[in-house]
Symmetry: C2
Subunit: 223 residues, 2 copies
DNA sequence: TCAAAAATAGGAGATATCTCATATTAAAGT
DNA sequence: ACTTTAATATGAGATATCTCCTATTTTTGA
């Protein structure tokens, strides 16, 4: 991790203005942190000292269970917050955050900003929207995971992450995210190929029948 | 549903003061709604016109999937909000809310209160805490549901809902909540009895080995 | 550049969980 | 009080998913 200073810091601040989200002058408190790919921004169980606002890059939220299973709880993208739970709650089990690409964040030190932020109507309104989206998404994922087999959830995931016709997520990541074993994921991908929905091309999968996948994924939604 | 007026309304307002949560005079806008047991407060898919704040009673949040399965997403208790998603988001699939006991709510009409609430730093701070707790809980349930078999989640649920040594939740409710079939729930309850963790007593179950259940439930937690 | 680690791949058998069918009992409505 | 509906109970067979094992390929790091 690298903390940007001077011109570098300023150029991020210019490229991603954020003052409008706050009623008080926030810029002076902002640190700009640059994380490399595959770096732990926050270690599981260790409370962070900052509220982060992602301006570039991608990361993942992980939690490790006592039985050794790892859940990838969600993906984090630009304009997401990290550490807002710790900002709001004294007691909270901190999840691990790991970058999956180079990631740049604004980091607001709690000890300087917490009070002000919790008095700031602009920021709080922004945060409620972020949190309501998060809660909604989690509730949807939760109920879907219990109500549908992998087939449907995987079809949805493929459509959401495919780049044009090409699906190429790492299996290991997808297992953690969808909460199934590697073996079973491969099994269902194999079925999709057999049925002609996908075609395997080396390590990639090419979507052959959009509509079939859409139908499977569509069953998840009323929402 | 009944809307309380005059003395009745006032006596609720006196018994459950709420002005301190708002920076503006809220009382004049409050309607007091009384719902009977097993009444639908909000029908799935129908946007409500109010933000509700529960002051007495219990309710459940339901969503129906396209495959006919019903998920009981969460329980609602006194001091919870209902309709906060619709307050914040223009686009949102409204879940069904059904009371399980007589329930009394403060109802704030959106058309009169939305603007003011979204400008109110006290209320927003309160709401962020509520939402962060909700998001956290959902994330925990989600990852647990994928990482652990029913055995562990049921043990946890029994300990959370048992009244002294007596567990007596309706099976049908529990199925919807834990996302398993009736048949399987009974199967695992049967195992608990065989192992001596529970003893069946008519329609109730009596906890015989707290520690065994605690051990099973404890595996869910690092959190 | 080479060894170690991570990711992919698939077989085989176990188990968690589901579906369907059928009875019985309790609760609710008129 | 009686009919209808909801809840409980259980068997049997199907399927979704897991665990463990082993082999190959790719990526990573010193």
């Amino acid at each position: 991790m690298k903390i940007c200073t001077n011109e570098e810091r300023q150029s991020y601040l210019d490229a991603y203005p954020i003052a409008h989200l706050f009623a008080f002058p926030i810029e002076e408190f902002i640190e700009v942190h640059e994380y490399k790919r595959d770096e732990w921004m926050i270690r599981e169980g260790m409370r962070p000292d900052y509220l982060f606002y992602v301006i570039e890059g991608k990361a993942k939220i992980y939690v490790t269970h006592q039985n050794g299973k790892v859940s990838l709880i969600n993906f984090i993208n630009a304009y997401d917050y990290i550490g807002e739970m710790e900002l709001l709650n004294e007691v909270y089990y901190t999840k691990g955050i790991r970058t999956s690409t180079k990631t740049v964040c604004y980091a607001f030190p709690f000890h300087l900003c917490r009070e002000k932020m919790l008095e700031d109507v602009n920021f709080l309104r922004e945060l409620t929207k972020f949190l309501s989206a998060k809660a909604t998404k989690m509730a949807a994922k939760y109920s879907q995971s219990l109500a549908f087999p992998l087939e449907n959830r995987l079809a949805d995931f493929i459509l959401q992450t495919a780049d044009e016709e090409v699906y190429k997520e790492k299996h290991v990541t997808v297992c953690d995210f969808l909460g199934v074993s590697y073996r079973h994921l491969l099994h269902v991908l194999g079925q999709f190929c057999e049925k002609g929905y996908l075609k395997k091309d080396g390590r990639r999968y090419c979507i052959q029948q959009y509509d079939s996948l859409k139908e499977l994924a569509g069953k998840l939604r009323n929402q």
